[in-house]
């Protein structure tokens, strides 16, 4: 693949494995084995069967008629919100739990922002009877209470991350520290296309099922081989990478990645990484991150816990730098309005993360026959309190 990772774990200038020596054996073990394990027939069979019977894949590609009318193009929703556990995160969690078992690991750790990845990880651990510890920022624990309860009900231990901004980046730090302290028996299920190589590639591969299905489904719907636009929201970027993956080499397809502008890109309360960030190293990879001149990581802000992250995956950083994908941003207000619009025009309450991608439709201008696929990455049940408080229902 033209835009894929090279032998050293880099996408152009981005990627690599900037990890302390304590993590080297774990990362090296993964690097050496992940392709062989995931290409193994027994692995593939189990992965595919769980995606079908447990997750409910393939997820539908739905022609959103009232959205299409409003925006003057054929708008398709790739319905990852209909997956078991309510988002795309389960695709990667299933893949990694099967990998962890084959690596002989007895304990799983994960970080979570909105709680979707935490719930997905707690779910697959329950499914396989493996101990699960989820790190979650103290701030996120408060704003995503239903998901915290879900994880606990599924048998996971939720550990609050109390350092720094007490959000996703700090939960990731705590998970990495846990892994350093428990290198032999534990596998770290990273939830996004971030972290040291091979994580960005591995997670992208597990999520690539989204675009693999969508490509076929679009042809069934329209007879066309390719859409004109593919859109998704980006925090770390796993749903976007899954949604872009099989379209990357199709240069005619315009890829649009929507970041969280928070209260506005220039307000100092934002998580729009490509707009505000510079090249550097975060969580084990060379990427684009929001930082001070001195290289300290800036605490991001977004109303959406899943997008409240100061970096992006290294492959996104590369796609941004070479202009293969366009990176834009949407404010809290715009996202919440789009969430309401989608609820009332299509009868789908989207996650606030997803609502960022939907909101950008307002800023696009399409030709009448354009086919547009948006990754409807998650459902909004977990965000009801935020919606209720905002709209005063």
């Amino acid at each position: 693949m033209k835009y894929g990772v090279n032998d050293l774990g880099y996408y152009g200038d981005f990627g690599g494995a900037y990890i302390p020596e304590m993590l080297y054996p774990n990362i090296e073990e993964l690097r050496q084995q992940y392709m062989a394990i995931t290409n193994d027939k027994a692995f593939k069979d189990e992965f595919e069967s769980l995606l079908k019977d447990y997750v409910g894949r393939p997820s539908p590609l739905y022609l959103a008629k009232r959205f299409s009318e409003r925006y003057g193009a054929n708008i398709f929703f790739k319905r990852e919100d209909l997956n078991h556990t309510g988002s795309h995160k389960i695709n990667n969690a299933i893949g990694q739990i099967l990998l962890a078992i084959r690596l002989g690991k007895k304990r799983i750790i994960a970080e979570t922002g909105a709680g979707q990845h935490g719930v997905a990880t707690a779910t697959v651990c329950a499914l396989k009877g493996i101990e699960c510890v989820v790190y979650m920022g103290e701030v996120d624990i408060e704003r995503q209470a239903p998901n915290v309860a879900r994880m606990k009900m599924l048998g996971a231990t939720v550990v609050p991350a109390t350092s720094g901004s007490k959000t996703l980046k700090d939960a990731t730090n705590e998970a990495m520290r846990d892994w350093i302290n428990n290198p032999v028996d534990t596998h770290y299920i990273i939830g996004s296309v971030v972290g040291p190589y091979p994580y960005p590639d591995m997670v992208a591969r597990f999520q690539s099922i989204i675009s693999e299905e969508a490509k076929k489904q679009l042809t069934e719907h329209t007879g066309k081989q390719l859409p004109d636009y593919v859109m998704a929201c980006v925090g770390g970027g796993s749903n976007a990478m899954g949604m872009f993956y099989h379209f990357l080499d199709d240069e005619s397809v315009k890829l649009v990645a929507v970041e969280a502008a928070g209260k506005g890109v220039d307000t100092g309360h934002s998580a729009a990484t490509t707009a505000l960030g510079r090249e550097g190293v975060l969580h084990g990879s060379r990427t684009i991150l929001m930082q001070t001149d001195d290289g300290q990581v800036v605490e991001p802000y977004s109303i959406s816990a899943g997008l409240d992250y100061p970096g992006i995956g290294p492959q996104h950083a590369h796609l941004h730098k070479i202009h293969r994908a366009e990176y834009v941003s949407i404010t809290d207000d715009e996202a919440l309005q789009a969430g309401l619009l989608c609820s009332q025009l299509e009868g789908i309450i989207p996650a606030i993360e997803t609502a960022h991608a939907l909101a950008y439709l307002e800023k696009m201008s399409f030709k009448k026959d354009d086919n547009v696929i948006i990754c409807l990455s998650g459902r909004g049940d977990k965000d009801l309190t935020t919606y209720i408080n905002y709209f005063g229902f």
């Binding site: 990495m176 520290r177 084990g284």
Partner: protein, 256 residues
């Protein structure tokens, strides 16, 4: 030879090194602490520069790094303070910290500045070996700075050989695969690990760090290695004693 290489070439044993965070407990404490440590008998020092997301550090050093940032410490301030380093301190000095602030400062500029103020070596735990070799090595060498690389009980013999080849001063042997600040567990496993490294007959001496908090752990480390590094225990001491400068002699006395 830089000061570190001279120290190790001297054959001196039971070396005691102390880590502390620049700008902690107060912004201006960096050189006062270095001076007091030399006077008390520390053989060389690691001065940590702050980073907001120190994944290899436990709560004690995390807290010191955050406090230093809150106090206004950054690399520019630190190099400003270190301008007087060699007027006041003669033992070898290592700068230790995460790679991102170094990248933002500029690797070549950072190395040049470090050498200029009299720093002898660098420990950058999250700088991978490949990137060090291809992108950083020349800048360090040009400025006569030693790069110190970590080894853990899980590091393979083959990799240790490679690290030995890339090192020109000493190898930083972690007592266990752990973040900083965990206490060292005395076990047969530790002896086996130290013995295994000793038997490899590396060209570089080894210094043990992580979990060295008292005389027992220090002596255990020195039994097989050239010395040991005390980090979290000292940082904790700084946080707990307002008159720390007067008590540093006492602190060092806990070890030797």
């Amino acid at each position: 030879m830089n000061r570190l290489q001279t120290l190790f070439a001297s054959g001196k044993k039971d070396l005691l090194s102390i880590y502390y965070t620049a700008g902690y407990p107060s912004l201006g404490s960096t050189l006062d602490i270095a001076e007091a440590l030399e006077k008390a008998g520390a053989d060389f020092l690691e001065i940590g520069f702050p980073y907001s997301d120190p994944v290899a550090d436990g709560p004690t050093i995390q807290h010191s790094l955050q406090t230093a940032l809150d106090n206004g410490m950054d690399l520019h301030v630190l190099f400003g303070q270190l301008a007087d380093l060699r007027k006041r301190v003669s033992i070898p000095i290592i700068l230790m910290g995460y790679v991102n602030p170094v990248i933002q400062y500029g690797v070549a500029q950072f190395c040049k500045k470090a050498a200029e103020v009299g720093v002898d070596g660098l420990i950058i735990p999250d700088l991978p070996m490949y990137e060090y070799e291809t992108l950083y090595k020349k800048d360090l060498a040009d400025n006569n700075l030693s790069n110190i690389i970590l080894v853990t009980p899980q590091t393979s013999d083959e990799r240790i050989r490679k690290i030995d080849e890339l090192s020109d001063c000493f190898i930083y042997l972690l007592s266990s695969a752990s973040i900083t600040g965990n206490s060292l567990k005395m076990s047969d496993g530790l002896d086996t690990y130290f013995k295994r490294i000793e038997d490899m007959r590396l060209k570089n001496p080894t210094i043990v760090g992580f979990g060295i908090a008292d005389r027992t752990s220090y002596q255990k480390a020195c039994q097989y290695n050239r010395g040991a590094i005390v980090g979290s225990a000292f940082v904790k001491f700084l946080g707990e004693n307002e008159d720390y400068l007067n008590k540093i002699g006492e602190f060092i006395g806990r070890f030797k």
